[in-house]
Amino acid sequence: VQIAPHDRVGDSQRDPEANAYRHVLVIDDSRLMVEAARIGLDRLSGWRVTTATSGHEGVALAAATGPDAILLDVEMPGLDGPGTLRALGEQEATRRIPVVFLTAAADSDRERLTALGAAGLIAKPFEPARLAGQVSEVLGWSR
């Protein structure tokens, strides 16, 4: 049986990017970073935020919770940012989730990171109050 809900409903109504259902997974080994992101995205903007402090935990949580986007630290012990991105790309459940790198690295690194298939980059340090706006801008979400 083939059900195609989009036959009945305009695409805009099921847009996973619509504000009401934003759910972001933050993967960073620094608790301070993760908590600052939570302030900006969850407490200030009301998005749903799931956090992980390692790449492996992040990949598992991404598959289990199906976030709309992932904020990913580049350098982490164990599975690092690029490795985590690769692992996400290998799973059917997670490969379509846009990933934004959080990086303190110099501009020269930007090309390398973007070439890995990330949706964009956000520079560290960030201001918590501006983070939701930055994520929306990088991903083309309407505010």
Binding site: R8, N19, A36, I39, R43, S45, G66, A104, A129, R143
Partner: protein, 647 residues
């Protein structure tokens, strides 16, 4: 954002150990390097520590610390040589010193906000908004956004504090209730209902999540917006809702460079039931018009930089404001000024010093004239409700809002039955009276933003925001309890369609269906067999928002009755089946569905709480398509639903 600063300070203190450990790792590496004994693991640890600090500490305000950490990060990228040791040591010392300087942390006492010198900064005031929210951080963000929108926020942490605020301050035009996890939803709704139910009712909005009982919210005349939304999105929603409501209170915008005059205008007019917004900055006029959508504009003639007469001419030249009455306040009485004022398109002129009674009467006259004109074009006098054209435009407005906020809504057509055995003229009169009674009953019970309008000779169009079709049916049944001989057909957005014409068609068809077959005669996408009402509601809402039609059954025996038989009352390609049910349990239902041959065209996903291996195996053997363990994540379940329907 004083609250953000406070939270950041707290986090910084709580994670001092982590920061110290990172700095210590760098110091260890530099020490080893000085002794020419730097090992690889120490270097790796230091590198990682420097990198992490470079990314982190800037967010907490340590600009110098961030720069030092970044320099160390770069220097450690390649294995350093002993000759680099002095420079690295200097950086490490500077880093530790910078991070110890807590004055770098964002200030929590608000001293970083420049103190305004009242006399020189333009003053602007707008309608009051009451924000009731347990999370100080969140209410801070909501209040800041309210101020950006030209509103005057009053913040309270719970409904009790909110009541005190309401008693002490001005009557709020807007109320935002954000209960979150606080246990005061019922109190909040009671407060919202009271404020919304006053003659010049406030627009009360509850920020809802999956747990919210939407029918109960509607009973208290509160509107619904999703809790998960940025303050910008929430205020976009609130102001769109405001624009969707017929306006009960009129808004007056006053522009005058003299704050004393503005204070007098507020004092004289607020008490009359009007909403007064004002600014002492004439250049803020256009923003204020957009923000407040006033019904009348009060302008000063002489203002520094701009003349009120020029502003009036510009306002008259803008089509959107061309019909708005403009009144001038002026101390000048010379013929030239008076002529210029009227030539610029002003409607009236009030002398300074202001005489309270005169100002009030002149404004009331103007507003009454526009109200009459508006009523002629928007109201159907026979039923005292909006006419069809206005109803259609209001309903379309609500549909657009539901789309942008991802909320459900319902369109209903209510039809009155004409009594048999009367002449045509009498039938018509009785029908018209019944229709009017229904319209009055609905208008008196529903929220101001809900639409009640003429649809046909014997029909009303009703739009209910934030409720799906089933919830709307319940709400309408309550509202029409006293109205005789009225039947309703209901269609839900987005389940039954995305455009008003389609939804109206669907509602009209539902009206034609005989009552007994009303609910259960259609094929649906998903049947949820689940006795936990909260969970069932959550699933229903999530599925409908994805565009799947859905029916909930709370009892195993009833489910078997509905889904089996030669002409089953209900057919669906997918069933979500709870394990523990009243009546037959889940396994029993599954067995019956298999026996009746339903499983040939229907897939079943079991929702299992204790997914013992043997039970799961038994379910799969009986023909279940899969199982999802409780508690489950809604997005994951929806993904399983999508696959089960598409596979």
């Amino acid at each position: 954002m004083v609250q953000v600063a406070r939270e950041l300070r707290d986090l910084w203190s709580a994670h001092q150990v982590e920061v110290d450990a990172n700095v210590a790792m760098i110091e260890d590496a530099v020490g080893d390097l000085m002794a020419d004994a730097l090992g690889q693991s120490t270097l790796d640890a230091a590198r990682r520590a420097a990198h992490q600090l470079a990314g982190t500490v800037g967010t907490y305000g340590f600009v110098d610390g961030s720069a030092h950490a970044l320099a160390l990060d770069r220097a450690l990228e390649h294995t350093p040589l002993p000759k680099d040791a002095p420079r690295l040591a200097a950086l490490a010392v500077a880093l530790r010193a910078a991070l110890a300087d807590e004055t770098e942390l964002p200030l929590a006492d608000g001293a970083d906000v420049p103190v305004a010198d009242g006399a020189e900064v333009p003053v602007a005031e707008g309608p009051a908004i009451l924000v009731v929210c347990a999370d100080a951080l969140r209410s801070d963000a909501l209040a800041a956004e309210a101020r950006r929108r030209g509103l005057m926020p009053f913040v309270a942490a719970d409904p009790l504090a909110a009541r005190r605020t309401v008693e002490a301050g001005p009557a709020p035009e807007f109320v935002v209730l954000d209960p979150g996890d606080a246990g005061w939803v019922a109190d909040a709704l009671a407060l919202g209902g009271e404020l919304a139910g006053r003659p010049d009712g406030a627009l009360a909005v509850i920020l809802a999540d999956e747990r919210t009982d939407r029918v109960e919210v509607a009973r208290h005349r509160c509107a619904i917006l999703p809790r998960r939304g940025s303050p910008e999105a929430i205020f976009d929603g609130i102001l769109t809702l405001r624009d969707a409501r017929p306006r009960t209170r009129r808004t007056i915008l006053a522009i005058d460079d003299d704050p004393a005059i503005l204070a007098a205008v507020h004092a004289l007019l607020s008490g009359r039931g009007w909403i007064v917004a004002s600014s002492s900055d004439p250049t803020a006029l256009w923003d204020a018009l957009e923000q407040h959508r006033p019904d009348l504009l009060l302008l000063d003639v002489d203002m520094p930089g701009t003349s009120g007469i020029e502003l009036c001419r510009a306002v008259r030249g803008d089509l959107r404001w061309a019909a708005m009455p403009v009144l001038f306040l002026t101390a000048r009485r010379d013929a030239a000024t008076i002529e210029a004022v009227f030539e610029a398109g002003a409607d009236d002129l009030v002398n300074k010093p202001i005489v309270a009674a005169e100002l009030h009467v002149r404004i009331a006259n103007r507003l009454e004239r526009t109200r009459l004109l508006l009523a002629l074009s928007e109201v159907d006098p026979a039923i005292s409700a909006a006419n069809r054209r206005t109803g259609v435009s209001q309903a379309n407005h609500l549909i657009a809002l539901a789309a942008s906020q991802r909320q459900p809504m319902a369109i209903a057509i209510a039809r009155v039955d004409a009594p048999p055995g009367l002449g045509e003229l009498e039938r018509r009169t009785v029908a018209e009276q019944t229709l009017r009674a229904a319209a009055v009953a609905l208008r008196g019970t529903l929220r101001a933003e809900d639409v009640v309008a003429r649809w046909g000779d014997r029909e009303l169009l009703v739009a209910l925001y934030g409720l799906n079709a089933a919830q709307a049916r319940r709400r309408l049944a309550e509202a029409l309890d006293e109205a005789p001989a009225t039947r309703t057909g209901v269609a839900g957005y987005p389940t039954d369609g995305g455009a008003l014409e389609i939804l109206c068609g669907s509602a009209a068809r539902a009206l034609e269906r005989p009552d007994d077959a009303d609910a259960d005669s259609q094929p649906v996408d998903v049947v949820v067999i689940e006795d936990d009402a909260v969970l069932a509601d959550l699933l229903e809402q999530a599925l409908e928002l994805r565009g799947y039609s859905c029916r909930v059954i709370g009892d195993g025996d009833a489910a078997v009755r509905a889904l089996t038989g030669s002409r089953p009352a209900l057919t669906a390609p997918l069933v979500l089946l709870d394990w523990d049910l009243p009546g037959r349990n889940g396994l029993g239902v599954l067995r019956e569905l298999g026996r009746a041959g339903v499983l040939h065209q229907t897939r079943v996903i079991m929702l299992t709480l204790h997914s013992g291996e043997s039970e799961t195996l038994e379910a799969l053997k009986l023909g279940a398509f899969g199982h999802v363990a409780k508690p489950f994540s809604v997005p994951v379940l929806l993904e399983r639903v999508r696959r089960a329907l598409e596979a």
